[in-house]
């Protein structure tokens, strides 16, 4: 074989260019040429690594999902061993808010893809329906254990609470993206919500019981 270049890296370089274009000018400004320019390669190269624009778009979405999952897993891993349910919940929701510019870029592009998926079922039923469903199930598990440990407010139902948390996180994130409120204000509302979900006892550093497994899947979809 002749000189070999790391294909995966090249593909990542190009999809990252796509994300930059989409974050700055919107997903409608993503063309084979604009992506090539943004990633510093020629149009031909984009064609070489992605047979069609549809493939390129799908690859970029998959990369976004993988990156998001990586950030999320890293935050969970940075937690103290055997973390409290409240810590896990807050960690899961911390990624939902666009706090810095990089996070904002991610959410802008992700939202644009979600909007696309609403009229194009072929494009990613998995990331937008399956992904959140799995996350919601995982959160439900965490909350069920929290309830057994008496960390939850009376009358809280884990499944409904998980749905509420995720929907609230998404809704607040969107409100920040459109400029309705600041990320700080959104974080306040989120804290207000979590304060009313858990018993007001001081945050304990570790749970008192449990199976040892965190209940949150560690591998990407």
């Amino acid at each position: 074989m002749p000189r070999t270049v790391d294909h995966a890296q090249r593909r990542a370089q190009i999809t990252d260019g796509l994300v930059r274009v989409a974050a700055r000018e919107g997903l409608h400004a993503v063309t084979m040429r604009s992506v090539a320019a943004a990633s510093g390669v020629s149009l031909r190269l984009v064609q070489y690594y992605f047979d069609s624009k549809a493939q390129l778009m799908r690859a970029a979405l998959e990369r976004l999902e993988a990156q998001s999952h990586a950030r999320w897993a890293a935050r969970l891993a940075a937690l103290a061993p055997d973390p409290s349910a409240r810590a896990v919940v807050e960690t899961c929701l911390a990624e939902a808010l666009p706090t810095d510019e990089e996070s904002r870029a991610f959410h802008v592009v992700w939202t644009a893809y979600a909007s696309l998926a609403m009229t194009d079922p072929s494009l990613a039923e998995q990331p937008f329906a399956d992904g959140p469903r799995r996350l919601e199930r995982a959160l439900t598990g965490v909350l069920e254990r929290a309830r057994r440990d008496d960390e939850l407010m009376a009358g809280a139902e884990p499944a409904h609470e998980a749905a509420r948390l995720l929907a609230l996180g998404h809704g607040l994130g969107t409100s920040v993206l459109v400029g309705q409120r600041s990320a700080g204000d959104a974080a306040d509302v989120l804290r207000y919500h979590v304060d009313r979900l858990f018993t007001s006892a001081v945050r304990r550093g570790a749970r008192t019981g449990g199976t040892g497994t965190s209940g949150v899947p560690a591998s990407p979809p």
Copy 2:
């Protein structure tokens, strides 16, 4: 003047065509030609009533907003005179969920516009930031009066609760749009939330006190 046609009606006919196209194939499929075909007129007519595509897009967004406000006002007007705060809140949130096909179409297109607005500030800061802000203020007013009447759970802060309600409504609506959950499930979560916001007394048909004004603005933005 020669034979006169109702310009406003023609413009409405065309923007409605745009919304149909956008709801079925996405906002990226909206072209001067596709809109013309969907509204049963010639390309030239679309150009005649809208000088540019940007104007057409803005007009369609304004019509969407006006229609949404009309539906919302109609629901409020259909309520019993001097309605309970809970009834007002539930009415405001009922529109947030895409329950039927028409509502789904509206939300799909609205979301696509919101996604556009994130990278194109010129397009509508008002509908996406100002509008929700005003709605949130109005809801806050309703909740403040409800608190005075002891209809709210202990410790509820009207401003935070209003933000929570709106964010939750939007988040749940989006989860329905992407197929993550059914509209019925979303309504269950919403009811779960409202049940925990108001005191669990049976819903009263009318408030006991108040100024007489509903606290909700009656005219469009």
